[in-house]
Subunit: 332 residues, 2 copies
């Protein structure tokens, strides 16, 4: 059925949404969600950074996942993009497409998750749109941050001779998804909980991201898998990126789940949803980067180098290329 003006389908529900979400609109330019649009202007001398990512039920999360965690992941995958650009987050717009089964409890939990993460990351809801859908629950967020003018850390800045770094550990989220799908391995309860949490509630590296301004030559967040994402970086920077397999950082839980080193390394280098930051910097910045890691409480590992050439390569301990099925997924 088609309605002109979707709000007419379930007026009570949309009033509830307005009631639940208005307290989240703390920024003055959000006008408490009572206007057609929001005003967001970066501080003087700063650029505004914008990014958008959508999560779809059955593609990015399960229908019965906790609503507060769906809310957090939806926000965090966007904040992670902002972090990779060196920007400080400010606010976000929220587009919800809701199937008929969504009830009051679901909406309250979803709003609660957003409220918690707004405090955690210092952001405000700025506006949005809610529509009914005959299909899958979809959460699309557009996030805004600011960065000193002209200082945005691009994907395209990697230079021959740079070293490559990555934050945190790789492959946990992919393993967490495998656990949820009851695939591959019999983790302990504690390991399973850790890995699933890494899949459901990624940790955007906001503080390190901002600290990389002036240090990193290029940066991106690892969402499609380390090798696929570094392949994008190699392409836009017109360089070759060589990653040393033995240097990839793994969590204890991942080492327990996948004791075979080769399997672990290949899966972790190609699994998605890590939301760690991979970045490059010239060798003389090494000490500064390690200091930034300490200052921001972020684990940072050096994993390779930038050389002349094309594409990304995974190298074994002898420096030989390890064959990887890595189709170089295209971001839009």
């Amino acid at each position: 059925m088609m309605n002109s003006g979707s709000e007419k389908q379930r007026p009570g529900e949309f009033e509830l949404i307005a009631e639940l979400f208005a307290p989240l609109a703390t920024a003055p330019g959000a006008f408490k969600l009572t206007d057609d649009a929001a005003v967001i202007t970066p501080p003087a001398g700063h650029d505004l950074i914008v990014t958008t990512d959508a999560l779809v039920e059955g593609v990015h999360f399960f229908a019965n996942d906790r609503p507060d965690l769906i809310a957090k992941k939806s926000l965090r995958v966007n904040l992670s993009d902002l972090a990779a650009k060196g920007s400080t987050p400010a606010g976000y717009l929220l587009v919800l497409s809701l199937p008929g089964r969504i009830d009051t409890d679901w909406l309250r939990s979803f709003a609660h998750g957003l409220a918690q993460d707004q405090r955690e990351f210092g952001v405000s809801l700025l506006g949005g749109d809610t529509t009914a859908t005959p299909g899958a629950l979809t959460v699309a967020i557009t996030a805004f941050g600011h960065v000193p003018a002209g200082k945005t850390i691009r994907r395209s800045g990697a230079q021959v001779g740079d070293l490559i770094y990555v934050t945190g550990t790789l492959g946990d989220a992919g393993a967490g998804l495998a656990c949820l799908k009851e695939e591959g391995g019999s983790p302990s309860a504690a390991d399973r909980e850790y890995l699933v949490h890494r899949f459901q509630v990624p940790e955007p590296r906001m503080r390190l991201g901002a600290a990389l301004i002036g240090l990193a030559s290029s940066s991106l967040d690892v969402s499609d898998g380390l090798l696929a994402d570094l392949d994008h970086m190699a392409e836009t920077s017109a360089v070759r990126i060589e990653v040393e397999a033995a240097r990839l950082p793994f969590s204890p839980a991942l080492q327990h789940l996948w004791p075979d080193e080769t399997q672990r390394m290949l899966q972790a280098a190609t699994a998605g949803d890590d939301y760690e930051i991979a970045f490059t910097a010239p060798p003389h910045r090494r000490e500064d980067i390690m200091q930034a890691a300490v200052d921001t409480g972020t684990t940072v590992s050096e994993i390779g180098r930038v050389v002349a050439g094309k594409r990304v390569a995974l190298l074994d301990f002898k420096g030989h290329t390890i064959p990887v099925k890595c189709p170089g997924y295209v971001h839009f």
Copy 2:
């Protein structure tokens, strides 16, 4: 099925999307869609205005509608919000959730529609996200505009004594939807084509919107229906808005379709999807507004006044209130 990294489901298709959409990213801050985020900074002395609206298959459009028209409507409903705030459009982000049936021809037509409207309205694609969905095709757009600092025309500025105006004609889109659903009336082919076009390709009033800065005291775009939207304006402005039914502007096609004056007036005042601008201004601005209408080639009709009190009221030619079922739909 759930994939971590939805791009992996149909890599060929997502490469095609990147290929089709990259030429639309004409703004320097869009980085040709090769980065995680875009940079958008308003000109000095201007605020940035942001708005977001999503269209869902089966709710806002039909599955077999022309893809180029779906693209145009998705963009235009957002531009209409920018126009109502007095802002000049600059760019937009696009989130597409695509069911499996979407093919190359569909995507080409969709991109073609965007390209045409980018030229029409002087905007650039800035970035976006594409995901697969097991459900309904969903197009979510976030649009950006700029306005001289502090000059955004709010919903909340209507003052007692102001006059109320609306652009264009009312009810055409609602009648167009009725035609598509084969409901109510037997229009001529020409009238049907006109009304359906008004539903499928709304005309955002960009030039008049920008000309209203400094003239209008409050403004919004008519998306849920004139009375429902003016009720929002009355609430946020803490005033009463009285609309004279006899002054509502109708197209010839609507008058042919609904010859009964009362039925036409009630339906047109409550139908959604008009995307005309309703605004208020003090009486001494009347001449300036009529001049702005002429200068921008926009029809503007005076339809009522702002008085002390609450809510919106529709008045007959004797000044009596016409009872209208008008639940005051809640925007989020």
